[in-house]
């Protein structure tokens, strides 16, 4: 065998392996080109999951015949005017997409420059391009890709079913569409429209929220908190869902960096950290965050598919996200998501013969209930169940005349009117009713109280008689030692013990006897992944939460009017009182209008 240079078609096919992984990535590249071309409207047609036919049409700036011939050459691009890789303002820049796609499919590009008198067409088949010929097109560019991967049968074999590929393609388009509310998108298969997003109107924030709502499900806008934070030249905006609107997986968490959708575990870690107090382990919030960052402190040239980016200062980005999220959640106070009352109303509708239990089901979307773990449900039921020895028929605890206060609009949670089943407080507000789960609500109040005390007094540390030496790889040990001051504040005192080992001298007293090895190893993983000592904080929070649970008013305890009102007033002034420690709501509010609807009055 002798060494030789590969022919350019082979080179392009190899490049295609990285850039065009599946039809969705081809579509993503083409749509990105359209966005970079300044299009206001992008129409995509996908047939057979993109395997047989893809077409992307835009009304962007278009290309002249000379540009067309160049465009399908490798490393030809209009997007790096100064050859400056440090300052990238466009989605694309590598000049690889068109030749890569062209090398593995039959592609044709028709384009007309804005004020040119005719359109031109270039066709490429398996890497062989034709001369430009005149064609018909009113404005912009249309790219058609047929028989994708026909030239690379191996890739073709690994494609999933058309349905799966189709949904991947839609996902890719949706991500791009979320970042560009000013562009109208349609996606169809030629006969049927799969996605139609009109150009969103209004200022950036409201336009974006409209777009997010259209993509993330129409509960999102009603339950979203706006994020707007700035730190050291970084600007974070976007919307996050209330904790009561949560999902079983992190699929609806989006991060856009300078308009580019990226998949970064930094976001997942930051979200987990910020929502730690409000959601059970297996629930995930909905997020769409847009980060604007100076291009010079960002490296997007990590992978040809550009789904990953590198931050110059990942800690700063993470800190910004966590603090912005926490801040927004704290301001949300006792707000619980409207899905809660909508679901309650849904359960109340007369045609639902048996009101389905919506325990733990809050925030799940549409018809796909995502249930929390069985254990969680069980404990929840245990605490929410009325005591068995109660005569439920008699357990309405209506208030006597003299206990009833006047309704005032200063009190968003209203005035307690009665207690039902010794579990739920019914309160009247000036335009509806509020039903409070007394245990869940009080549990949260006690928990917040404990957190405050812990923050004020500091965490007590129990010294270890026999300091525990833990060996780990050197990088992990260094990461932990670097955080020793922060860990000491959390009650864990450690010191370096030669390379690749640390010694634990004191542990948080409230954790009692703990598996120190397990804790330290978890911490090392956390620090590597999320740069935050999550597992230690979670363990401390778990202990507080358990104590809060035991220290709070149980379901089944009869409360008098003053007690109920006191609970409501406390909820109003306590941050995060809209959900219990597991992210379930503590109260449901039904507006008078909703109730009227139930009775057909509206």
């Amino acid at each position: 065998m002798t060494i030789r240079l590969l022919p350019s078609t082979t080179v392009n096919r190899i490049a295609a392996g990285e850039v065009v992984e599946r039809p969705a990535s081809a579509i993503k590249e083409l749509v990105e080109n359209s966005i970079d071309a300044g299009a206001k409207r992008i129409d995509v047609i996908i047939r057979d999951g993109g395997r047989t036919f893809i077409s992307v049409t835009d009304d962007g700036c278009g290309m002249s015949p000379e540009e067309l011939t160049l465009a399908v050459e490798r490393h030809a691009t209009s997007k790096l005017p100064d050859d400056d890789l440090e300052n990238i303002h466009t989605l694309g820049f590598r000049g690889e997409a068109l030749p890569s796609i062209g090398s593995v499919s039959r592609m044709s590009i028709t384009s007309r420059v804005h004020d040119a008198d005719s359109a031109w067409l270039v066709a490429i088949e398996g890497g062989e391009k034709s001369e430009p010929s005149p064609a018909a097109l009113s404005q912009g560019t249309t790219i058609e890709v047929r028989d994708l991967f026909y030239a690379t049968p191996a890739r073709l074999k690994f494609l999933k079913t058309p349905k799966t590929e189709n949904s991947h393609a839609l996902d890719a388009i949706k991500r791009l569409a979320m970042a560009h509310p000013d562009i109208a998108f349609t996606v169809g298969d030629g006969s049927r429209t799969m996605l139609k997003l009109p150009q969103a109107q209004g200022d950036m924030l409201s336009a974006r929220l409209d777009r997010l709502d259209a993509i993330m499900g129409n509960e999102f806008a009603a339950n979203a908190l706006a994020i707007d934070a700035e730190r050291e030249g970084l600007h974070l905006s976007g919307h996050i869902g209330l904790p009561t609107l949560s999902r079983g997986n992190a699929a609806l968490q989006f991060l856009f960096v300078n308009g580019r959708p990226v998949k970064d575990k930094l976001l997942f870690g930051a979200a987990r950290g910020a929502y730690r107090d409000f959601l059970a382990h297996d629930r995930h919030p909905l997020l769409a965050l847009f980060l604007d960052i100076p291009t010079e402190s960002l490296d997007v040239n990590v992978h040809p598919a550009k789904t990953e980016v590198r931050f110059q200062d990942a800690g700063l980005v993470r800190g910004l996200i966590v603090s912005a999220l926490r801040h927004a959640l704290a301001e949300a106070g006792h707000r619980a998501s409207t899905t809660v009352s909508n679901q309650a109303l849904g359960a109340l509708r007369p045609e639902t013969a048996v009101p389905q239990s919506y325990q733990g089901n809050y925030g799940s979307n549409q018809n796909r209930p995502v249930m929390p773990s069985a254990g969680l449900q069980e404990t929840a039921r245990e605490f929410h169940a009325p005591l068995s020895n109660l005569d439920t028929a008699l357990s309405v605890n209506a208030l006597a005349e003299d206990q009833i206060q006047e309704v005032s609009d200063d009190w968003p949670l209203g005035v307690a009117r009665a207690q039902l089943h010794e579990t739920y407080i019914v309160a009247q507000t000036d335009n509806g009713i509020v039903i409070v789960d007394q245990h869940a609500a009080h549990e949260r109040l006690v928990y917040e109280e404990m957190k405050k005390a812990l923050a004020e007094d500091g965490i007590k540390r129990q010294g270890l008689l026999i300091p525990e030496v833990i060996e780990m790889d050197e990088g992990a040990a260094d990461r932990i030692v670097a955080r020793s001051d922060e860990l000491a504040e959390l009650g864990l005192v450690i010191e370096a013990f030669g390379p690749g080992a640390i010694v634990v001298r004191e542990t948080p007293a409230m954790l009692g006897e703990i598996d120190i090895h397990g804790l330290i190893n978890d911490l090392a993983d956390d620090l590597a992944e999320n740069e935050e000592a999550l597992s230690l904080k979670e363990r401390l929070a778990d202990v507080s939460a358990t104590m809060a649970c035991h220290g709070s008013v149980r379901a089944g305890r009869r409360l008098n009017g003053d007690e109920m009102n006191a609970l409501l007033r406390q909820m109003e002034v306590t941050p995060h009182s809209g959900q219990c420690n597991h992210g379930r709501p503590t109260y449901v509010e039904l507006k008078l209008a909703d109730i009227e609807k139930l009775f057909g009055r509206r």
């Binding site: 109280e449 005390a453 540390r461 129990q462 270890l464 008689l465 005192v493």
Partner: protein, 372 residues
């Protein structure tokens, strides 16, 4: 097999034995107790594969033989029989069922084959010595509170029993620690114990043997190898596997340079700690000790800023010192001290404190402070 036995005697043995039998078992035979009746006596045997207990009692044996029956059910039945009843156990003819009759009550219990019953004994136990029951109780009682319950450090889940030397005298020493506190108790080395390996006796074996020797005044024969230990007395034999691990070098954590000595009335101190700790609602239950000349001030506070203080007169002549402890740990140790006065030897707020019973030089307790 057909035997008759007095209810009280049978109940006593079953009470001892059923502690070893786990409530739920994946191996059915382990729920059963095995009866063996050669001439004139009945021996009962139960095991959880780690601990094996055999107890032999005199019985009226009409026909010898053996059988197995569910231990907890049997215990429950015998417990409910009237006092003084004569219990007849019979499985002659059909060995798949054991018939228990007493007065007009009759129970038929399903037997499992005797040959399935695991035999744990066997193996050579080269080290033998005897201890008085009171000595063994003393070793266990004053150390077991410090046994760790945290299972990843399995080698702390028991009492470390070993021969040691102190001031030229040979001693048998029991040590337990959970990493926060340590208890070490010693007695003069019994004859034959020299050269014994250091062994870690697991928590469950400790609690079973402790129950068994509660009332006896006999000498206890102890035999051990480096994998098993056997306690035998009055027809009862308990054999247990040992924890296979290395007990940490505890000697190093027993402080020697502590120079601040405090002596206090044990009862006064224990009660004061108990009272003061009532105020702290948090999990860690911290108590602060402020020690000045002749006076100890205990204080605690709650997250809601409730506070408690109590002063206790002490013998103390050094510089003032402040130190925090988990009140439960202090109480645990105070409860072990039987003498009137306890001696605390301290260094500073971050170092281990040594606690001793003035009347009992054989026991020392070490406690790590809590940092507030």
């Amino acid at each position: 097999m057909k035997i008759t036995i007095e209810r009280g005697l049978l109940l006593k043995v079953l009470t001892h034995i059923q502690g070893v039998v786990e409530r739920r078992n994946t191996i059915p035979i382990l729920s059963n107790v095995k009866f063996d009746a050669p001439d004139g006596q009945l021996s009962l045997n139960a095991t959880d594969m780690d601990i094996d207990i055999v107890e032999t009692i005199p019985a009226d044996v009409a026909s010898s033989g053996s059988a197995t029956a569910p231990a907890h059910t049997l215990y429950d039945i015998v417990r409910k029989l009237p006092e003084g009843a004569q219990v007849e156990l019979d499985c002659t003819g059909d060995d798949s069922q054991l018939t228990l009759s007493a007065g007009r009550s009759k129970f038929k219990l399903t037997c499992l084959p005797t040959e399935d019953f695991p035999v744990l004994s066997g193996g050579d136990l080269p080290n033998n010595f005897t201890l008085s029951a009171a000595d063994l109780r003393g070793l266990i009682d004053r150390t077991r509170f410090a046994i760790s319950t945290e299972e990843t450090r399995y080698y702390l889940n028991g009492i470390y029993l070993h021969a040691a030397e102190k001031d030229g005298v040979e001693v048998l020493r029991a040590v337990a620690t959970d990493g926060h506190r340590l208890a070490s108790v010693e007695i003069p080395l019994p004859q034959g114990a020299a050269g014994m390996p250091g062994v870690i006796v697991p928590r469950k074996a400790i609690s079973e043997i402790r129950k068994l020797i509660d009332e006896t005044e006999d000498e206890i024969a102890v035999s051990l190898s480096d994998t098993k230990i056997k306690f035998a007395f009055e027809g009862t034999v308990l054999t247990s596997k040992l924890i296979d691990g290395t007990f940490p070098d505890y000697d190093r954590v027993i402080p020697e340079g502590n120079d601040k000595v405090l002596e206090v009335d044990t009862d006064l101190f224990a009660h004061a700690v108990d009272r003061v700790s009532a105020i702290s609602t948090e999990k860690s239950r911290a108590v602060k000790l402020t020690i000045a000349k002749g006076n100890l001030t205990l204080s605690a506070n709650s997250p809601e800023n409730d506070t408690a203080t109590e002063e206790v007169p002490v013998d103390y002549d050094e510089a003032e010192i402040e130190i925090g402890f988990n009140s439960r740990y202090l109480l645990d140790i105070a409860q072990q001290i039987e003498g009137d006065r306890a001696r605390f030897t301290l260094a500073d707020a971050a170092s281990p404190t040594l606690v001793q019973d003035l009347d009992d030089q054989g026991a020392i307790y070490v406690l790590m402070p809590m940092r507030v």
